[in-house]
Amino acid sequence: MKTLLISGGTVVDATGERIADVLIEGPTIGAVGLDLGTGRPPDETLDATGCIVAPGFVDLHTHLREPGNEDAETIETGSRAAALGGYTAVLAMPNTDPAADDRAVVDFVRRQGAHAGLCDVHPAGCITIGRRGETLAPYGELTAAGVTVFTDDGFGVQDPLLMRRAMEYATGFDMVLAQHCEVASLTRDAVMHEGHCCSALGVPGWPSVAEELMVHRDIELARITGARLHILHASTARSVDLVRRAKADGLPVTAEVTPHHLTLTDEALRGYDPLYKVNPPLRTKADIEALVAGLVDGTIDAVATDHAPHAAEQKERPLDEAPPGMLGLETALGVCLPVLTAAGMAVADVLAALSWKPAAIAGLERHGRPVTPGEPANLAVFDPTAEWQVVPAQLASRSRNTPYVGHALRGRVRHTVLDGVPAVIAGVATK
C-alpha cells in the first residue's frame, strides 16, 4: 500500500483546528498528528508549510459540458480545473446534450470522470425529461444509478403542479430537488438585473421578484410535501430572507451562493461586456451584503461555483445573444476567502461552506469528512495568505470566461489529494 505524508500544515475540519501532519495509507487516512515517524519513510511527501490541510472542496454546481458542448469544456478538463481549485468532488449539472434524464447519460458522465481520475464526478439528474418541465424524469432509475441531486438547472420548473408532483414522488427516494428559481415569463429576453444600470444601458432586466416568487412557491410546496429542497445560486436579499424563515420553520430547505454573487454587481456590465452576463444576474451591493450575511449566519449553506464555461466567440456576441455564465472552479477559494473572512467568518466556517456542508447536501459520504484516521483521504491543501492573479491563458479549463482578471485573489491551492492519490502537486495537475 502506497503511503503519502502531508507535512508541516495546519489541519482544519469540522472537529476543529490543529497543527498536524497527515499520513495517508492507500485511499485512507492512516494517522494525524506530529512526529508520525513510523520507521518506514512515506513513499511520497507533500510539503504543507504555511498551509491549511482541509477536507477537499465539494462543488454542488458545475457545468462540465460533456456530452454535447465539448468545445467549451470536457469532463477531463473540467475535472482538472476542479482539482486545481481544491475540489475533490463536483456535481455535474445535467443540462448536457443529451440531458442527464436517463441512466445512459448518467453512467457515461460518471465513467468519463473516473477515467479522467482528477476529481470525483458525481452526475446530477434532471427533474423533468429533457428539462422541458412537462413530465417527470425517472427518479427510481436515476437514484439506482447513484444520483442524489436533481435539477433542471438553466430553467426552473414553471408549472406548480408538476413541481408538487416532483416533490411528492421524490419523498420515496434519498434525493434532493435543486431548483433554478426563475419565473420565465418575467425574465423574457432579460440580459441583466432589472434596476438602475439596465435602465441606463437600455436592455431588458431580470427582476429579483422572478427569483423570489419561485423560492417562495417551492418553500411552500416543500412545506406540504416534506420533500428536501435546495435553492441553487441564490442571488437576492429577499431570497435569503425567505430561506431564513423556512429554516426557522424547520423545513428541509438548503441554499447555495456563487462566488461571483458575493463579489460583483450589475455595474460590471456598464461596458456591455458579455463576460459579466450570468443567470441569475449580478445584482446590487445590498444583495451582496445580504448574501454574505446569509453565509455568515448559516442561512446559506454552501458556496457553489456554477462553473459555466463558454467558448470565446460565444462571449463576443452582442450582449443579448451571448450565453450567460462564468468560470468558477479555479478561482473560488481565492475569491471567497478574502470576502468572507473580511465579513467576520472564521476560516473553518468558510471551509464548511466549501466542503462538508455541500457534501452533506449531496449525500457524498467520502467527501467533507473529518481529517481523522479511517476517513477517506480526499483533501485540499492551500495557502490562505497567498496573493495571486488569474492568468486566463494558464487556466486548465478549456474556456477563458473568468470575470476575475485583474482582481486580487487571496488563498491558493497547493496540493489536492483524491482517494489518497495526489491530483495536484505544487499547483500543477498530476495528469
Binding site: 436592455v203 463576443e316 452582442p318
Partner: protein, 313 residues
C-alpha cells in the same frame, strides 16, 4: 473626441462644440457646391446591421460632403447571413483601412463591443434601446436654431412623449437636453418607462394634457404597433387617446411651442394632425439639420488637428 457613442460619454462641452460646428456645416450645405475637402482621403464605413435607409443616407451624404470615401455594409446583403460573427465582420472591414465606423445594431452596447476590435473611431448610429446620439444632437440643434438661441437652453421646458422604455432616441434626448440645461419631462404610462429613472431631475408624468400646456418643445416618439403584444399597452386606440397629439391637444399647445418627431411617423397613432398644419412642427428641419450635424461629428472625429472646414472641394 475619439468616439461618439453616447451623449453621456462625450459630455456637455463636446455637445456645445458639435452644435457650434454644425452652424458652419449648415452654411456649407447652403452653397451651390455643398462640398469641402476637409476629410479627403479618410474612409468612413457604415455598418448597418439594422434597416435604416434614412439614417444611412444622412450619414453617407454627410461623409461625401466632406469628401470622405464611403463604404456601406447593410445586413440584408452581407456575410452576417452566412454566419460570420460580429467581430470577424468588423476586423475584416477594418483591415481594408477604415478611419471611422458608423454602426447601427438592434442590440444595445454593440458600439462599445466593436471598439474593442478596432482602432477606428466609432459613431453610434443607434444601438438597441440605448442611444442615438446624432439624433439627439440634430434635435437639440433644431430647437436651438429655431429659437434663435446659442449656447445652453436653460429654462427651456421639453416634454418627451411615448415609449421611453424602448427608445434610444428618448434616452439620448434626455441626455442632450439635460446637458444643455433644459427642464425635461417624460410623458408615458408606467409600462413604457424604464424600471428606474433615467436621470436625476427629470420629471415623470402620464398626464399629457397637463404637460402640453407647459411645454416649449413637444417631442413625439414613435409608438410601435408590435408593442401591443407585450401587454405594455392595451391597444393603440387607448394609447392614442391618452398620448397622441390630437387636434384638440394641438390647439392647446403654446403659440411658440415646437413639435419634433424622429421619424418615421405613425400617422394616426402618436400624431393625429398633419404636421404641415402645425406652425411649430420642425420635422423637415430635423432631417435637413441631420446632415449638417453628422458632418460636424465626422469632422470633429476625423479632421486633422487644426484643420479648417475649407473652401469648396
Amino acid at each position: 473626441m475619439k468616439h461618439l457613442r453616447s451623449i453621456a460619454e462625450i459630455g456637455p462641452e463636446a455637445v456645445h462644440r458639435l452644435l457650434d460646428l454644425t452652424d458652419h456645416m449648415v452654411e456649407v450645405n447652403r452653397r451651390p457646391n455643398p462640398k469641402v475637402p476637409a476629410l479627403r482621403g479618410r474612409t468612413v464605413c457604415n455598418l448597418f446591421f439594422e434597416d435604416s435607409t434614412r439614417t444611412r443616407l444622412s450619414f453617407e451624404t454627410a461623409a461625401r460632403r466632406l469628401s470622405a470615401d464611403v463604404m456601406t455594409f447593410t445586413v440584408a446583403s452581407s456575410s452576417v447571413n452566412k454566419g460570420e460573427s460580429l467581430r470577424d465582420t468588423v476586423e475584416t472591414v477594418a483591415a481594408m483601412g477604415v478611419d471611422a465606423f458608423v454602426i447601427r445594431h438592434r442590440a444595445s452596447g454593440v458600439p462599445w463591443q466593436v471598439s474593442r476590435w478596432t482602432t477606428a473611431s466609432v459613431v453610434n448610429g443607434g444601438d438597441g434601446w440605448h442611444a442615438h446620439p446624432t439624433q439627439a444632437l440634430l434635435d437639440a440643434y433644431t430647437v436651438r436654431r429655431a429659437l434663435g438661441r446659442s449656447g445652453g437652453l436653460d429654462g427651456l421646458r421639453v416634454a418627451i412623449v411615448g415609449d421611453i422604455r424602448h427608445s434610444r432616441v428618448a434616452r439620448s434626448n434626455v441626455e442632450v437636453f439635460g446637458a444643455l440645461g433644459a427642464d425635461v419631462t417624460v410623458v408615458a404610462p408606467a409600462t413604457l418607462l424604464p424600471p428606474a429613472p433615467l436621470a436625476i431631475g427629470v420629471t415623470v408624468t402620464d398626464d399629457l394634457d397637463a404637460a402640453i400646456e407647459e411645454a416649449d418643445v413637444l417631442y413625439l416618439l414613435r409608438m410601435q404597433r408590435e408593442r401591443i403584444s407585450d401587454a405594455v399597452i392595451p391597444s393603440l386606440r387607448e394609447y392614442s387617446a391618452r398620448f397622441a397629439l390630437t387636434p384638440e391637444r394641438a390647439m392647446r399647445l403654446g403659440k411658440h411651442a415646437l413639435v419634433l418627431h424622429p421619424g418615421p411617423m405613425n400617422r394616426g397613432v402618436e400624431i393625429q394632425v398633419d404636421p404641415a398644419e402645425l406652425p411649430g412642427a420642425m420635422i423637415t428641419q430635423q432631417v435637413t439639420n441631420g446632415v449638417a450635424v453628422r458632418m460636424a461629428v465626422l469632422f470633429d472625429l476625423l479632421a486633422a488637428p487644426g484643420a479648417t472646414i475649407g473652401e469648396a472641394a
